[in-house]
Every structure is written in C-alpha cells, then in structure tokens.
C-alpha cells in the first residue's frame, strides 16, 4: 500500500490531505494519470511529486510502502 499526500490548493481541490492507494510498480508519470482519474484537478498536472520526501522524476518507480506527495508550485519564504 502507498500513502498519497496532497498539499495547499491541491489538498482543497482533492478534498482530502491523504489517501491510500496501491501503486507499487508504477512510474511517477503513471501514478499522476491514475490519481488524476480519481481527483481530476488541473493542479495535479503542474505539481511536482516527492517520493519519501525527495523530489522524483517522471520515470521514478514506486515501491511498496513509498509515501507519494503531490506538491503544487511552492511559495514559501
């Protein structure tokens, strides 16, 4: 099982801050598509993805137990 985290505008659009899905074996790109089917937010397209608190590229493969976070463009500072 994998935990998905949503932040900021994406959290509001999804109406939840975390959800569990089984995504092991998929690439980040595939994960984005799959999550988009459930939470069709435009912001998902412009978000970065972090796997286990590190930015992950489109080709990165999800493993069992990974935490996957969807990060809208940041605006700290």
């Amino acid at each position: 099982m994998n935990q998905l985290l949503f932040f900021a505008g994406l959290k509001e659009a999804a109406g939840t801050e975390n959800v569990n899905m089984d995504l092991a074996g998929l690439t980040v790109e595939e994960v984005k598509k799959k999550v988009f089917e459930v939470y069709p937010s435009e912001q998902l397209q412009t978000s970065m993805v972090a796997v286990n608190e590190e930015f992950a590229g489109q080709e990165h493969k999800i493993e069992e137990g990974d935490t996957i976070a969807f990060l809208p463009p940041v605006s700290g500072g």
Partner: protein, 153 residues
Amino acid sequence: MNGKQVWVTEEPLSPGEIISRVTRRDAGAINTFIGTVREFTKGKKTLYLHYEAYPAMAEKKLQQIADEIEKQWPGTTTVMAHRTGRLDITDIAVVIAVSTPHRDASYAASRYAIERIKEIVPIWKKEHWEDGEEWIGNQKETKPGVPTKEESR
C-alpha cells in the same frame, strides 16, 4: 529553544536568537534575511497569510540548502527557520542567518538561501484579502513540475 540548524514551526521566530546561533569566533560577518508579511501586494490589501508546509520534507530541503551553502562557501554557518500557520501583517515568515569569515560570502550565501527556499522547499502561502483568498504558487516563475537545479531521482 532547540539546537537545530533548520526548522519549521508554528511559533513566532526570533531573529536575535537565530543570529546568536551563527555567531562564532572565526566569523567576522553575519548576514540575515528576514521575510515579513507585507500589507500591500500589487495594490491589493492583504489581511493575513496562512503558510502550510510538508514539514518533514521542508526541513530536509532546508538542511540540503544549508549543506549546499557550506559546500559552496566553506567556513559558513547557516541557520534557517520558517514559520507556518496564520501570520499577520509584519509577522516574520522566514529567518536566514549566515556567518562567514568575510562579508562577501555572507551576502552571497544569504541570497542563495532565500532563492533556493523559494525554489525547492515545500511550503505554500495563502493570501487572505477582504474579498477572497488564494494559494500563491510559482513565485520564481519556474516551469511548473520541473524542480529547477534539483536532481530528479
């Protein structure tokens, strides 16, 4: 408070306390950058802000920035803290303090830190106005979804 080099907190930040953490015998210069909540942005009046973080990752990324700085400017000590939650006008959102032997590096490292924070640290700002609210994003106008200068795994 604590002995950390970087942290994210809901508590008010104290610049004096953070400055004292970077003060040391082999430094002659300390540069500090403080981001505060400004009332007007592009003519629009902000009532207050709300900052949200992905705290564990935000602290990791702040630490990464501190490490990058100490690699790029040897002999630099960096302490950084970011506040989250509701912030009112003039409240401090971020404090960066760097100490270096000489002043050139203190300015360069401090500037580097704030630019990197706006690039890679997962913290988001929501502006609240009289007539609405909005999550602010992409301040650096980087291409969405592409972590600039960040190595993708």
